[in-house]
């Protein structure tokens, strides 16, 4: 890089009025380095966790062996692990795509709740008759979940783009509002017999699970993996394609790396801020839809043990790489109970 500086040796009349310094290329870290740091982060965290377990009087090796057996030991428990990984993949994608643009959307939790609300609205209002086909319910619930999540992302995105409102705080505040929004419907509108939950969805609205096909293929009995997992994998590939193979993704990455350069290149930062927040919110909304129609099958208060926040951690461990999100989410699914 050429560096222009006024000369400091002004008494030497024959010298140029500036001098040029050539700086050496900084050595770039090798390609395996990001993966290595993430791997070491997980290892160190496991060791620290082991120390805590040991201090609490447990045997860390036995505990980890138990966790491994209980989440990876057989086809049945591995299927349960994939069920837990499904919402994690989707919310981590939501975080990754926003963070890639250095938009700090930490509202995936709220967008997840609104996605669950949207999918529930299709079944409970009801927007579709109870007897409607499963293949009608799935796209309608997906659309409603994505739209509600995207709407919940649009609000902070718009405020950021138009009024420069700090999106960290606004997305976090939207989380609390989302919880109360759902609570209102659980307690007041869709309550079943005064309990804090809606009635069970009609089975047509459930995402198909492997165990549903046990009649024809017996060994699938008891496997709870549902269509949401496939949707999550497709979403991961799509997000990877958008980020690394499309013009839009190039714009997102350029804004994230150097907003000044992006502005001079004529990239519309205002529009991208809103669009990326909507994409991020839509992915988190899809996570909520997948969880509510694939696992819970009713709208209730406790539908997320902090998925939105775990998603942020997974996104960082995956270095915001949409494909790396899948194995890391499965690891987290295995670690959570």
């Amino acid at each position: 890089m050429a560096d222009l500086q006024p000369s400091r040796s002004s008494e030497k009349r024959w010298s140029l009025p500036f001098h040029i310094t050539l700086e050496p290329w900084l050595a770039e870290p090798p390609r395996w380095y990001p993966m290595f740091t993430s791997f070491m982060a997980v290892v160190i965290a496991l060791i620290l966790g082991g120390v805590v377990i040991a201090l609490a009087g447990g045997n860390p090796f036995a505990s980890y062996a138990h966790i491994a057996r209980a989440s990876l030991g057989s086809v049945g428990v591995f299927s349960d692990t994939l069920v837990k990984a499904t919402p994690l993949i989707l919310v981590s994608l939501a975080a990754s795509v926003a963070f890639r643009m250095r938009l700090w959307n930490i509202g995936a939790e709220g967008q997840f709740f609104l996605g669950a609300f949207g999918a529930s609205a299709v079944v409970l209002i009801p927007l579709l008759p109870e007897t409607a086909s499963r293949w009608l319910f799935i796209p309608f619930c997906m659309a409603a979940g994505i739209v509600m999540g995207a709407l919940w992302g649009f609000i902070p995105g718009f405020l950021k783009a138009k009024y420069n409102v700090n999106e960290i705080i606004s997305t976090l505040m939207m989380n609390y509002i989302a919880v109360q929004w759902n609570n209102y419907f659980i307690f007041a509108i869709w309550t079943e017999g005064g309990f804090q939950m809606s009635k069970m969805f009609t089975t047509n609205a459930w995402l198909p699970r492997l165990t549903d096909f046990a009649a024809s293929i017996p060994w699938l009995r008891g496997l709870t993996v549902h269509l949401g997992f496939i949707l999550a994998i497709i979403a991961a590939v799509l997000v990877w394609y958008i980020l690394y193979r499309s013009r839009w993704g190039y714009e997102i990455r350029l804004i994230g790396d150097n907003p000044q350069a992006a502005r001079y290149a004529g990239i519309n930062i205002t529009r991208n801020t809103i669009l990326v927040m909507m994409l991020s919110g839509g992915l988190a909304g899809l996570a909520g839809m997948s969880e509510i129609t694939g696992v819970v099958h009713r709208l209730q208060g406790a539908i997320s043990p902090g998925f939105g926040f775990t998603g942020i951690i997974i996104a960082w461990l995956s270095k915001l790489n949409p494909l790396a999100v899948i194995p890391v989410s499965i690891l987290f699914g295995a670690l959570s109970w």
Partner: protein, 322 residues
């Protein structure tokens, strides 16, 4: 419904926000954005309550809260000042870390029993002033009065003293401060520590005075994040921070109390007869935070005032730029 009683309780609630906000203002004035306020508050609330239960002395609890908050903040300080990592990411992680530690160590603490509270008292003479007296100077915890003292003290410290000038220099133009012989790194560590202590104090204010007890992560219920928002509204000024904090405190109390009475001002109270409206009431503090941010951000643009110029940027000695 007695308005004065609600406002009095609002001031006590606002003191929580005030301590956290003023601590974050000091850290941000030195150039370090610490988003871990929520985590530090939870650690503070948990340490204060558990130490107060174990020793029977709430003052020791207070001390423990401030030490715990300060120590946790140094994790963030080390990562952002020494390792020069992204302050947003590190701050978020600090909230996760603080929340996680507080929940693990605080397990079972909600049934730990009662504590002896910090003393409540009236301020003589001042409590006799109509309206202001009953709201600001009657039967408050000593922490509330400490909060009042901090407002002018911190303002004077930042704007009128030499160490305060150093603090502002480090946040606005660290290279110039460095050239003048001010130790940028040491000052930043110090103010992040002070911010952590005040966030711990804010947590202790909850668990020892305003809402005694431990209710896991609902103890703070996002107040640390509201404080981070209030810093922007306050434009890094302690006096505006106080106004914002007490207003917010009053709003939070109002949301809780408005559902109680059957009649308000002679008309039937709709919130009493429609209890489910309470869910919308509980959205208000959070929605209001967003509105306040919009107002604060617009005003900052119009008046051309803004964050400390070096906020969020690591200082690397000898590099060009800020």
């Amino acid at each position: 419904m007695d308005v004065l009683i609600i406002l009095q309780a609002g001031v006590a609630t606002g003191t929580i926000l005030f301590f956290a906000t003023i601590g974050e203002i000091l850290a941000e004035r030195s150039g370090i954005l610490n988003l871990g306020v929520e985590g530090m508050m939870l650690i503070g609330a948990m340490s204060a309550f558990s130490v107060a239960v174990a020793t029977g002395n709430p003052w020791l609890g207070l001390l423990a809260a401030m030490i715990a908050g300060g120590l946790l903040s140094q994790v963030h300080a080390f990562i952002t000042i020494k390792l020069q990592a992204d302050q947003v990411v590190s701050g978020l992680a600090l909230t996760f870390l603080g929340t996680g530690i507080a929940l693990v160590l605080g397990e079972g603490l909600s049934k730990a029993g009662t504590i002896s509270m910090l003393p409540d008292f009236d301020i003589p003479i001042l409590s006799k002033i109509p309206i202001l007296g009953p709201v600001f100077f009657t039967s408050h915890s000593i922490l509330v009065y400490i909060g009042y003292l901090l407002i002018p003290l911190v303002w004077f410290y930042i704007n009128r003293t030499r160490p305060g000038m150093h603090l502002r220099a480090v946040g606005e133009y660290p290279a110039a401060a460095d050239a003048l012989g001010i130790n940028v790194y040491r000052l930043r560590y110090f103010y992040v520590f002070v911010g952590g202590m005040l966030a711990g104090l804010a947590g202790a204010t909850i668990s020892l005075a305003v809402a005694p007890g431990w209710f896991s992560e609902m103890t703070t219920a996002g107040q640390g994040w509201i404080a981070v928002g209030l810093v922007i509204f306050a434009q890094w000024d302690p006096i505006r921070a106080a106004v914002g904090s007490y207003t917010f405190g009053a709003l939070r109390r109002l949301v809780l109390d408005i559902q109680g009475p059957t009649m308000i001002l002679g008309i039937a109270n709709p919130f009493y007869y429609n209890p489910y409206w309470g869910f919308f009431l509980q959205m208000l503090p959070y929605a209001f935070t967003i509105i306040v941010l919009v107002i604060g951000s617009r005003e900052a643009v119009r008046k051309r005032i803004g964050a400390p110029a070096a906020l969020g940027l690591p200082y690397i000695r000898g590099e060009r730029g800020l």
